[in-house]
């Protein structure tokens, strides 16, 4: 799944480590999310979206294949 996490992090000048600490996961999880190797749980997706003051759909980009 594609995410806007790297872009949002850059905008807020935030490191992976800082974001990881804020949402209670490891840096490796953030890396995996960013490269699309791992799909976040609903709870984590909610925490990340909340951190950036956005909705889940605005942070995590569901493509057509995943929707069906």
């Amino acid at each position: 799944m594609k995410t806007r996490i790297p872009e949002l992090r850059r905008q807020q000048k935030l490191s992976q480590e800082e974001l990881a600490k804020a949402v209670g996961v490891t840096r490796q999880t953030i890396t995996s999310l960013e490269v699309g190797k791992y799909t976040a749980s609903l709870v984590l997706a909610h925490k990340i979206a909340l951190y950036f003051n956005l909705t889940i759909e605005e942070v995590f980009l569901f493509d057509e294949e995943e929707k069906s």
Binding site: G24, V25, Y38, L44
Partner: protein, 143 residues
């Protein structure tokens, strides 16, 4: 499912570590004094030594963690991180299937040499399968 706090989990681990150390010491004493099992002494001694020192090492590690809140938080994060949890779950699932495969192949090969070993491994395999099914049903009830 009810969540146990990391501090409580750590306390529980320390208790298990102590129990394992005591158990290995008692069993070691029994093995040492029981002359009927003399032929098994080296094997049992090495195994019990291993259990004792592994428990001791884990006890020291857990005790250090308990005394350092920063380290405890880091460890908690590593253990509760959802990706790490997924990795562990997938690894254990693969390990279970591979173990079954190894056990099944060992059972087939053992048949050429010893029927006793063959039946022992066959029983073990069947018992494991029943156990896996039972555990699965239990976990299904939890979630």
């Amino acid at each position: 499912m009810k969540k146990i706090s990391f501090e409580k989990r750590l306390r529980l681990r320390l208790q298990v570590n102590i129990a394992c150390m005591i158990l290995s010491a008692i069993l070691f004493a029994i093995v040492l004094w029981n002359k009927d099992f003399a032929f098994l002494q080296p094997m049992y001694s090495a195994s019990l030594f291993g259990l004792f020192f592994a428990s001791l090492a884990l006890f020291i590690r857990n005790k250090k963690l308990k005394m350092d809140p920063e380290k405890m938080r880091t460890m908690e994060l590593l253990e509760t991180d959802e990706r790490n949890v997924l990795i562990i779950r997938v690894s254990y699932t693969i390990f279970t299937y591979v173990s079954f495969g190894i056990l099944y192949i060992s059972m087939l090969i053992s048949g050429f040499f010893s029927t006793t070993v063959f039946y022992t491994l066959e029983t073990l395999l069947c018992a494991n399968l029943v156990l896996v099914l039972f555990i699965r049903k239990m976990v299904e009830k939890i979630y």
